[in-house]
Symmetry: C2
Subunit: 335 residues, 2 copies
């Protein structure tokens, strides 16, 4: 399903640079150190895929691109808040190739920087007042609040799963739906809501986002097992060290012999595991066919998502085509 | 200025119990442990003064009390979020007479519980959709976002001041305006905005809230120096242990001799200071007349606030009288 993403990439770069201008405007103030900490991760990069999804979704139903970009800044700010707090909880020292916020500024400041960004996400959305009808803006506010609630619930599940060995595939899928797919879904829905799109269109967009969001996270889990540090922007095997119950681990646990399972359990989640132990663990998981299983599962969800997108009836067909490209791009097997 | 607060107290109890019903409805869900942690501090008590202020402010301009109560739940949820995160940063082990959230559930869960409440505050406000005109609700959303931004900025100043010895009175006043008065201000403004009150009324309410909020925090600082544990709901002298630059400390630093100042600096902010050392420090601060200075300063701000309230022209005069009582009650000298 790989294709030519050059058109998408060009548009993505344009949207990202416009979104960043808005973020710069919104995440600016005093005290200086708080704002520095809040901007640290934002400045480290990121593809701004959620704003892109929002802009394209809005465009499909005639939303002014400038409005989409401003709303996109809001979801990107919210996304960065979740990353800062997740990194504290997961004790991750690197992200996007740079030290995480709490590593540089300390945990207290990182908590506060996340809180500030959380608030700024809602401030950014509020700045659309006067540019879109108030009833649509209220719907967008409610959608953003729903996403923030759901992402927190997803993170709680993720943390709880670290201490459990009986996590089922369905529980995993619910967790990644909440932790990853929900904000992607809300980005698309916010674009459509701000444009005043019909109800049934929004339902199809939700199905699309759900499929793509889940497929994206499954691929990301695989990437964590097979990619190297330069691709990940963080140390390899951090999922294994943190005891994350990825789809790969869940599948492997269901396939391994009692002895192999013991071996997996004895290493997974051990922060002090050596590079060699982690490599062995990764090989053990791969030996079960977990990667192939995960790839098939991602393909299935992606397919369902694309089918839902096919049912969408936009006014701007180019935007729909780009959204399809975006889905294929973020779920491509880069390994 | 002490008076008979029985009418206010009765109404406060009624509003608090109605607000709590709404909070129960909103802060409910799964995973169970996350919601337990999120409800821990809420269930421990609190007077729900911000919701009361919002309800009264709304009533002054004809807002349905039920709507005020729902919006009040939103600001109370936001307030509890800030307390949970502040307690982590300040390493406070007790609040409202119970162990703090991070003490019971661990820091990671406390971060997440705060995040969930933050999101739930916006969800709660969004539930007013259909009950008030959308343009007013958008204004309320923007006000709540402003408060959340401002409280984070205030907390950053407070933390920064812990490491500084040259904090001025003006810097202190800006900090407590942001950290304490801002959310009280936004509560009053949200009530008025939801009721569709005129612009100049809102300006007077802001001045009122500013004066009362600042007076309240100054009294709270004094209470931290003179009250005992049963009144505070937390260990005495925690401000001193944490090195907080309260108005008392700032005043004392400006009055003490070089030697006394050295003594103050050597104990203030030392987490391992003994009970005796802390008591000596408190006496040293009191000996400068800091309490009297703080009381006068609180009186001055309260007076300015009440003058602004006098300029308010409500349709419901009982609500205005109760708001005046509320101001006197929260700034009363309980020492």
């Amino acid at each position: 399903m790989a294709g030519d993403f050059s058109k998408l990439m060009n548009y993505a770069r344009y949207v990202a640079s416009e979104v960043d201008k808005v973020i710069n405007e919104v995440v600016e103030g005093e005290p200086q150190k708080l704002y520095e900490a809040s901007n640290h991760l934002i400045k480290a990069g990121g593809k701004r895929l959620r704003p892109l999804a929002l802009v394209l979704s809005g465009r499909m139903y005639g939303l002014d691109e400038r409005v989409g970009i401003r709303a996109g800044a809001s979801v990107e700010i919210l996304h960065n808040f979740t990353l800062i707090h997740d990194d504290i909880m997961d004790k991750d020292a690197f992200r996007r190739g740079v030290p995480t916020v709490h590593t540089v500024y300390g945990e207290d400041m990182a908590i506060l920087a996340g809180d500030l960004l959380f608030a700024k996400a809602f401030e950014a959305l509020g700045r659309l007042s006067g540019l879109v009808p108030a009833d649509r803006l209220v719907k967008a506010f409610r959608e953003l609040a729903w996403a923030a609630v759901t992402v927190a619930e997803g993170q709680a599940l993720d943390m709880d799963f670290e201490r459990r060995w009986d996590v089922t595939l369905d529980e995993y899928l619910l967790m990644i739906y909440k932790k990853t797919a929900a904000l992607f879904k809300s980005s698309l829905v916010m674009g459509a809501l701000l444009a005043g799109a019909p109800e049934n269109e929004i339902t199809n967009l939700e199905r699309f986002a759900e499929g793509v969001g889940i497929a994206f996270q499954i691929r990301d889990d695989v990437l964590g097992l097979v990619a190297d540090e330069s691709v990940l922007g963080k140390p390899v095997y951090s999922d294994l060290k943190e005891g994350k119950k990825t789809v790969l681990v869940i599948y492997a646990l269901s396939r391994l012999s009692t002895n192999e399972k013991k071996k997996l359990i004895s290493t997974l989640g051990r922060r002090d595991a050596s590079a060699e132990e982690l490599k062995d663990l990764a090989e053990l998981i791969k030996s079960t066919g977990a990667v192939e299983f995960a790839d098939d599962l991602a393909d299935k969800h992606l397919k369902q998502g694309l089918e839902a997108l096919n049912r969408v009836r936009p006014v701007d067909h180019e935007a729909k085509d780009l959204l399809r490209d975006l889905a294929l791009f973020v779920t491509a097997r880069n390994y």
